[in-house]
Amino acid sequence: MVAITGTLFVQILVFLALVFFIKKVLWGPINQTIDERRKKISEGLAAAERGRMELDEAVKKAEARMAEAQEESRELLANAQRQANDTLDKARADARVEGERIVNAAREEIDQAVASAKEDLRREVGELAVAGAERILKREIDAKAHNDIIDDIVAEIR
């Protein structure tokens, strides 16, 4: 019937045993699991955030590298263009100088040839004049004595 009996103490012991059992077997492990999962989730979120930041950084880095490479190639191209132009200009100048040199040499040669031909002609004319005069005078002109005269004549012919 309705009464407080010794069962009270038995139930106190059973209840206390159950409380400590549940604390050790159910409450503790479950909370540990929940904490573990919480930690894992927050770690995962942090890792994702970190990954996204790293990706952004990498993209930025790649873009910078690409711009750099573009700049470099542009520079290289400009350099090559300039070098080619320089080479061409130099070659052109060289050719002009060489041509002029050749033309000048040829002109000089021609001038020399003309001068020497003139000289030859003059000498021959002088000789012819002397021979003619000899013949006219029917005697030998002392070439040595009249050399200065001949030379004068030759100079005049020139």
Binding site: A3, T5, G6, V10, V14, L26, I30, R37
Partner: protein, 287 residues
């Protein structure tokens, strides 16, 4: 049924009599308080329920995983987190002992209350039949420990002791004494204060225990009363059984559904109020 006498009072009395050790000749304890008596039936049911809770805990722990919890783990985790939240709200920090205490109360009380849903005459009837084979003329066996005083008071006493311990820890012996002397009417009304504070403290475990006991005792009694509808028509066999038996089953069904709510509600109330009382005990008094 071991009930051979027939009278309705005897039927009810039979249902409220324990299988006990140390009882008087009429299967009753010596008085309202008799610590030499042990109600073996309630101890056995209590132990069976505690064992089921313990096995369930082991079963859950064995399958715990942080990565992919199953349905069972999700439910248990939700419950534990709910209790954790309640404890956190009252204590403002983690308290594993109170959490485990509340979970233990809820699970154990729920299971013991659930025994009330088992048809009232089933277990006593079967055990009575077995008893007859061994020559016992009366087998008494109640199956709802929470419908007796001992088990609710056992839990309430544990809560009370922890409550007093927390009050001591939070206020110190001086603060504890001061609370008795000056709370709630000020320092000039010490006798009234002592009385009021004493009632204030003691009423908590008493109300915890009596609320659970009252609900479950009444529930058990109503099942027994409903069963008497049929029995009254059978005692001298009469045609009224055609009226009372369907009514008995309909009433039994409705009351079972309603009682199922009470079963879990009372377990829940006991657990949550324990948390609240223990939380109040940790707050330092600045009245």
């Amino acid at each position: 049924m071991a009930n051979s006498g027939g009278g309705s009072a005897e039927y009810i009395t039979h249902h409220l009599t324990d299988w006990c050790a140390g009882c008087t000749a009429d299967h009753k304890p010596g008085g309202l308080v008799d610590f030499s008596v042990f109600t073996l039936d309630l101890i056995i049911v209590g132990l069976v329920c505690a064992a089921i809770v313990a096995l369930f805990s082991l079963f859950v722990r064995k399958r715990l995983t942080a990565e992919e919890p199953g349905a069972l783990q999700a439910v248990v985790e939700a419950g534990v987190e709910y209790v954790s939240d309640q404890v956190g709200q009252v204590f403002h920090k983690r308290n594993d002992f109170v959490g485990a205490l509340a979970v233990a109360i809820f699970l154990w009380v729920s299971l013991m209350n659930l025994a009330d849903i088992i048809p009232v005459d089933l277990v006593p009837g079967v055990l009575g039949g077995i008893g007859h084979l061994f020559g016992a003329d009366h087998v008494f066996f109640r199956i709802v420990p929470t419908a007796a005083l001992d088990t609710p008071f056992a839990m309430a006493l544990v809560v009370f002791v922890v409550m007093v311990y927390y009050q001591f820890r939070a206020n110190g012996p001086g603060g504890y004494a001061k609370r008795f002397l000056t709370h709630p009417y000020g320092k000039w009304a010490a006798p009234a204060n002592i009385l009021t504070t004493f009632i204030d403290d003691v009423s908590k475990p008493v109300s915890l225990a009596l609320r659970l006991f009252g609900n479950m005792f009444a529930g058990e009694l109503i099942f027994a009363l409903l069963a008497m509808l049929t029995l009254s028509a059978l005692a001298p066999p009469s045609g009224m059984v055609a009226v009372w038996a369907p009514l008995h089953f309909l009433g039994g069904f409705i009351w079972s559904v309603f009682h199922l709510l009470i079963v879990f509600l009372q377990a829940f109330i006991f657990a949550v109020l324990s948390i609240v009382y223990l939380g109040m005990a940790t707050q330092t008094d600045d009245h």
